[in-house]
């Protein structure tokens, strides 16, 4: 059913997918051929539909010049270029009109007030109306004529798409094009599409626009002389090479990358340090330990979206609690360094309970004999901690430290909700803000500004993927090594 209606809507890929899904389900649960598949199928199907296929789609997009101005398919682009390519006549003539229908086709009633000529025009014909048969309003604009049904006022809004972009017959190569709901201008086509050669030709001066192989029709070798819109064309690795060779893309990328690494390392270091400190302090039997523990875990238990937004309010320059408390007047999110400090501070608050929890667990796991032996050998508590406890802890927790690094490397929610990646210098058209990490930068490129570039964003996504995968695989191998020891 769904598969059928998908194909009916010309969504062949999704339709085919659904069809295969149905067959697979029937095959798996009605026969006894494959028992593992009975367990797998739902999970695998969900993964393929909503995780694997988007990833493949992203990989594909990274090979295209998929960006604002090059969103549509080539056929659609050709159609739009044709429709947009007209110029007003030399006198800039315009007429008052009335929108309506003629024999149920969209039509306009045109009033050439100067020459006292009135006519109905559709996209196929022009029907002259004698002056005596029209009713005029006080501005001499025709309101009704025989054979013409004006559109009721309440339908004007929804009618826009039917009328704008339509060409109503005027005379010779000139036609009428709507400018708003009651004015039409006289214009003529400037470009014509030549099917065989796949080029656009300017009818007036004969200039030829050729497919430049990168998603636009271009005149000569001037890459700015292109026709809008373009289409999404395969440009293979250009998005990648651009990132590494073109300084306009390379420099912000390097800057963002460095900050991402700094941010993730600083977060891991600070959260681990504070968590460990608290775990050590609360490791001894202490009155009310359970109570302290519950309080320390609170930041972790709060839904993080809420906490980040709350912190956002606290850093507010004028009214925020932080400035009130410190007696300062710092514009936290307007200055690059303060914004960075704020981001790390908030993330410390969000993250230290995690390391507190895992570090207290790990402390219990270290055999007390080791520390006792060291004490007998005459080591003081500081030495014991530095030489015995810490190295052991680091070894136990290193997979978690790496996992935390990988997680914070892509900690989109924090950056997006707290600073939005800013401060950024939008006047210079800068996309990368001071606190943008790679992932929020990519989001900004793909969806943020008015010039969206999905192709480039996809390319960066893949680079991030490779980086994170490398880090995580390293972490996993490390934990495997540990397992084989124990």
């Amino acid at each position: 059913m769904l598969a059928q209606s998908a194909i009916a809507q010309k969504e062949y890929v999704i339709g085919a997918f659904l069809f295969i899904v149905i067959l697979l389900i029937l095959f798996t649960y009605l026969t006894n051929k494959s028992i593992p598949l009975k367990f797998f199928l739902p999970g695998i199907l969900l993964l393929v539909a909503f995780v694997v296929s988007p990833i493949l789609y992203t990989v594909t997009m990274s090979g295209f010049n998929y960006k604002t101005g090059n969103i549509v398919s080539k056929e659609e682009a050709i159609l739009q270029i044709k429709n947009r390519a007209f110029e007003p006549d030399s006198a800039g003539t315009s007429f008052d009109i009335k929108i309506g229908t003629h024999l149920n086709n969209p039509a306009i009633l045109v009033s050439d007030i100067e020459n006292k000529i009135y006519f109905i025009s559709t996209d196929k014909e022009r029907i002259a109306v004698p002056n005596t048969q029209v009713t005029l309003n006080e501005y001499q604009v025709a309101q009704s004529a025989p054979g013409f049904t004006p559109l009721p006022t309440d339908q004007l809004g929804s009618a826009d798409s039917q009328y704008s972009g339509k060409r109503f017959i005027f005379k010779d190569e000139y036609f009428l094009s709507l400018e708003g709901l009651d004015v039409a201008i006289v214009a003529r086509q400037t470009l014509t599409y030549l099917d065989k050669e796949d080029v656009f030709k300017n009818i007036i001066n004969g200039e030829i626009y050729k497919d430049n192989g990168r998603g636009n029709y271009q005149a000569g070798s001037d890459s700015t002389a292109i026709l809008e819109p373009g289409w999404r064309a395969p440009i293979w690795f250009e998005n990648y090479t651009k990132l590494f060779t073109d300084s306009r893309f390379r420099d912000p990328l390097i800057r963002v990358f460095i900050w991402t690494v700094v941010f993730a390392s600083a977060t891991v270091a600070t959260t681990f340090a504070l968590g460990l400190l608290l775990a050590l302090a609360l490791n001894k039997p202490l009155f009310g330990r359970r109570f302290y523990r519950s309080i320390l875990v609170l930041p972790y238990a709060m839904p993080s979206v809420m906490s980040i937004l709350i912190w956002g309010g606290m850093f507010n320059t004028e009214f925020g609690a932080i400035n009130t408390l410190l007696g300062t007047d710092i514009a936290w999110f307007q200055s690059a360094n303060f914004a960075r400090l704020a981001v790390i501070l908030v993330n410390l608050w969000l993250g230290f309970p995690y390391f507190y929890l895992v570090a207290s667990g790990a402390l219990q796991a270290i055999p007390a004999e080791l520390q006792e032996a060291a004490a007998i050998d005459g080591a003081n508590p500081r030495q014991i901690f530095r030489k015995i406890t810490l190295p052991l802890l680091l070894q136990i927790l290193s997979p978690l430290l790496i996992a935390s690094f990988a997680f914070n490397f892509n900690n989109f929610n924090l950056i997006y909700l707290l600073t939005g990646g800013g401060p950024r210098n939008t006047l210079d058209g800068e996309i990368a803000g001071a606190t943008d990490i790679l992932i929020s930068y990519t989001y900004q490129i793909a969806f943020g500004s008015s010039k969206q570039d999905l192709g480039l964003a996809s390319a960066i996504s893949l680079i991030i993927f490779i980086l994170v995968a490398t880090i995580s695989l390293y972490g996993i191998r490390k934990s495997k090594v540990l397992e084989s020891f124990s």
Binding site: E11, Y57, G313, F319, S404
Partner: protein, 265 residues
């Protein structure tokens, strides 16, 4: 200790402050007013209860369904032998590392197309959002649950096999009862994770009425910290209470789950 409590304390006193502004005149509460709370429940412009209900429904369904489906897959990965088991696990791990946020444009396009022929599960519907969440939750859950299944002694299902149980029976009668506490924890973790999810929900749920609490409150505050602070504070407190209670009461189990799996998101 102070560092941990300060923001929470601040939100609580703000929520009882009748002026509803961000400005703190005193760090000691001078009054207790329920205005902000009343506003949340009576103001038709903030369908707070609907948001809360949406969040609970979406997160609840995702958590339950994903754990059932995920544990079936985890069981198969851990216990059944078949071709491509090892590459399957590795592939699962690799796929999971792809930053999900970056695939959202693709998810968006796909769901936009689905919308055309199946309006019930397309863009802008909670059904569609739940499906996408389920897909996203699979990787983590299968991985987490596989670890637990591995730790259940093999002798148990071998004994069941000798007694003539099929794989499906082993799964339902041996594995599920044994793993109930673990399943509960994974369910809760996915519930909390989904409750917290914000980007996809924001992209998907455009209608005021269909939003989840995270999106609703974020849009409500929308940079206008000074104006809506009081109701926002009250709203986030109420929204946090169930999560915090669940978390604190099951702390011990959740921590075990966390160290086995990943970092909270």
């Amino acid at each position: 200790m102070l560092f941990a409590l300060f923001p929470l304390y601040l939100v609580i006193i703000s929520s009882f402050n009748s002026s509803g502004s961000l400005q703190i005149t005193s760090f000691v509460p001078t009054e207790i007013s329920w205005n902000n709370y009343k506003l949340l429940f009576n103001n038709p412009a903030i369908p707070y209860l609907t948001w809360m209900k949406n969040s609970l429904v979406v997160a609840g369904l995702v958590a339950l369904i994903s754990v059932v489906i995920g544990s079936a897959s985890a069981f198969a990965f851990s216990r059944l032998s078949f071709k491509g088991r090892k590459p399957g696990i590795q592939l699962l791990l690799l796929v999971q590392m792809f930053p999900a946020i970056l695939a959202i444009s693709a998810v968006y396009v796909i769901m936009e197309r689905v919308q055309k022929f199946a309006p019930g599960i397309g863009l802008g519907t909670q059904g569609g959002l739940i499906l996408v969440y389920l897909g996203g939750a699979m990787g983590v859950n299968i991985w987490l649950l596989k670890g637990f299944v591995d730790s259940i002694p093999k002798e148990l299902d071998e004994a069941a096999k000798i007694d003539g149980a099929s794989e499906v029976q082993t799964f339902w009668l041996i594995f599920i009862p044994l793993a109930t506490p673990v399943l509960a924890v994974v369910t809760l973790l996915s519930f909390i994770g989904t409750f917290n999810e914000f980007i996809l929900a924001r992209l998907f749920l455009v209608d005021m009425e269909s939003r989840t609490i995270a999106v609703g409150l974020q849009q409500f505050i929308g940079g206008q910290y000074s104006q809506n602070w009081g109701p926002f504070a009250a709203g986030s407190i109420i929204a946090s209470i169930p999560i915090v209670v669940i978390f604190l009461s099951l702390q011990k189990y959740i921590v075990n789950g966390l160290t086995a799996g990943s970092v909270k998101g």
